[in-house]
């Protein structure tokens, strides 16, 4: 059974600069990367294929347009997951993908997955938008079952046994393959590739495919706003005793003690 891992080219939100006064969001200046939880999905795919055979391939549909910088980052993100042990990667790019919503992207990705893979692994949410909508939509498009928030996956013949973490409940389900499963960060510890694996990863097959929008999007982003959070950022000085006293005094003045 071959496994597809969905890897999104996400904005590195830690590096993203926003200006609270002007409301400007410096999207172009921030780097993009494979999401952290996608590294968990990759790790799980590698472990499953090592145990049960088959190939594991990363799929990325870049929605950042044709700029050289973003293309380079996309290939770097894929090289990162290839170095962890995936067998190959496919990068889909092209005009129109920037306008893509999850409806459009799921339709486009399904064309690359149907009849080719038995299992799709994804993150519970992407690094930058964290909606978790895409794997669910992809499952619906393919007509496959969908299970989210997996913390353990085992293959048992035509089924996978999935343990998943809900707020108040830990559930174990048996899912008929083919299936789409999203994982949480707790499922494993992603391996950190060695330099030689990164060098080797650059020689692994990376297919490029042109994107053409299969449908029109159902959703558009009208505006991005910067939430206003005003913090005093006062550093309390002194030794331990003094600092504790000053802090208590400040909190009294705030009226929160």
């Amino acid at each position: 059974m071959d496994i597809a891992v969905l890897v999104k080219q996400s904005l590195d939100v830690q590096e993203l600069r926003v200006d609270q006064d002007t409301g400007k969001i410096y999207i172009e200046d921030a780097p993009t990367k494979a999401g952290d939880i996608e590294l968990n999905a990759t790790e799980e795919a590698v472990r499953l294929k090592e145990k049960f055979g088959g190939k594991a391939i990363a799929l990325m549909l870049s929605t950042w347009g044709a700029s050289g910088k973003r293309q380079k980052e996309a290939r770097e993100a894929l090289t990162r997951v290839l170095a962890m042990g995936l067998d190959g990667a496919m990068l889909i790019t092209g005009e129109g993908a920037e306008r893509g919503d999850t409806y459009m992207i799921a339709k486009a990705l399904a064309q690359e997955i149907r009849d080719k893979f038995g299992l799709v692994l994804a993150a519970e949410g992407s690094e930058d938008n964290f909606s978790g909508l895409l794997p669910a939509r992809l499952a619906a498009e393919l007509g496959w079952p969908y299970v989210a928030y997996a913390t353990a996956i085992e293959v048992e013949g035509d089924y996978v046994k999935v343990t998943r973490s809900l707020e108040d409940f830990e559930e174990v389900v048996k899912v008929k393959l083919p299936a789409v499963i999203s994982v949480t960060q707790e499922i494993n510890k992603p391996r950190v590739p060695k330099l030689v694996e990164i060098v080797k990863a650059k020689k692994k097959p990376m297919d490029q495919k042109d994107f053409s929008p299969p449908v029109e999007p159902k959703l558009t982003i009208r505006e991005l706003k910067v939430p206003k959070v005003e913090r005093k950022r006062i550093v309390i000085e002194g030794d331990v005793e003094e600092a504790a006293e000053k802090l208590i005094q400040a909190l009294k003045e705030e009226g929160v003690l």
Binding site: G125, D128, A148, V173, I221, P227, V235, I236, L247, V256
Partner: protein, 304 residues
């Protein structure tokens, strides 16, 4: 506008009814295991009771909700994990637009306009959605409605080919005061070296009459605490009047969960930790030295 709502939890279902009433008439779907809610639900126009479906049947629910949705412009689901799992599937079945965790919703010129957090909390996206739309609503944003007795109509269950079978599971331990309702929160991070050391945080919370929350790695990864107490974009969003963050770096995904706090204090050995950007008062110190002294002094003034 007609709105269909469903949630696995009654509290969240009531919040959905309120959110839906901003758009029009709300029908709340209730499954067999939820039949007891019928006398308690207020504000919905009608209750759709499906006696042949259990809320634990994910595939059945997707089919049932998608089938009923044809009569509605908007489907509202909850932003808990079970709810979010349904949103994309139902939306795609309907060829509908979708959004999760929305904090506000309104109709403009035949489009639904919603707001939601994005970029790990650094931005708010205003999104225009074509109808029909399937949406999950952020927890705690809408108060349960106070009046209006719904009528009850029974609906049948569709036949579904099941590929997911629940074969086991266990309840997670429950926590006392829900974090999102607490007035004072002490949030702990990986700066604590072992589980036993958390007692420093519990003692501080005790003297303040507060509760202890955590960063994700502490709850989900190290499992030092119940999972309901992790704060952040993938956990709870809190809004206490006082938050003391101890030994947490303040990565964006955590910071997104504390934005609505009134006063934020940070204790961290690293003066460059991003948490100090998110704090009103910063103490650059070892928590092992600072917390015992702070707790002791607070005890003295509280007369304990």
């Amino acid at each position: 506008m007609k709105v269909l709502a469903f949630s696995h939890s009654m509290d969240l279902a009531l919040e959905l009814v309120s959110a839906g009433r901003e758009l029009g008439d709300v029908s709340l779907l209730v499954t067999s295991d939820q039949e007891g809610w019928i006398n308690e639900v207020k504000g919905a126009k009608e209750i759709l009771l499906c006696k042949e479906m259990d809320s634990g049947d994910q595939e059945g629910l997707v089919e049932l909700i998608s089938g009923l949705a044809g009569d509605y412009e908007v489907v509202l689901l909850a932003s808990d994990r079970r709810g979010r799992e349904l949103v994309g599937q139902v939306a795609h079945r309907l060829g509908a637009s979708s959004a999760v965790d929305v904090s506000s919703l309104s109709v403009e010129k035949g489009k639904l306009v919603v707001e939601r957090m994005t970029f790990g909390g650094k931005a708010i996206a205003v999104e225009e959605m074509g109808l029909p739309a399937v949406i999950s609503v952020q927890k705690g944003k809408f108060r349960p409605p106070e009046e209006g007795k719904p009528s009850v109509r029974e609906v049948g269950a569709p036949s579904v080919e099941r590929r997911i079978e629940v074969i086991g599971g266990k309840e997670k331990p429950k926590v006392g005061v829900p974090l999102d309702k607490a007035e004072i929160v002490v949030a702990v991070g990986r700066g604590f070296r072992k589980k036993e050391d958390l007692k420093l945080a519990y003692e501080l919370a005790d003297v303040l009459g507060g509760v202890v929350g955590a960063t994700r790695p502490l709850a989900a990864d190290l499992k030092w605490m119940e999972e309901e107490v992790w704060i952040g974009i993938s956990g709870v969003r809190i809004a206490p009047k006082l938050l003391i963050v101890v030994g947490a770096s303040g990565q964006q995904q955590f910071a997104a969960g504390i934005m609505d706090s009134k006063v934020v204090v940070a204790v961290n050995t690293d003066s460059k930790a991003p948490i100090f950007e998110q704090a009103d008062y910063g103490v650059v110190m070892d928590l092992y030295e600072f917390l015992p002294v702070l707790t002791k002094k607070l005890k003295e003034i509280k007369g304990g």
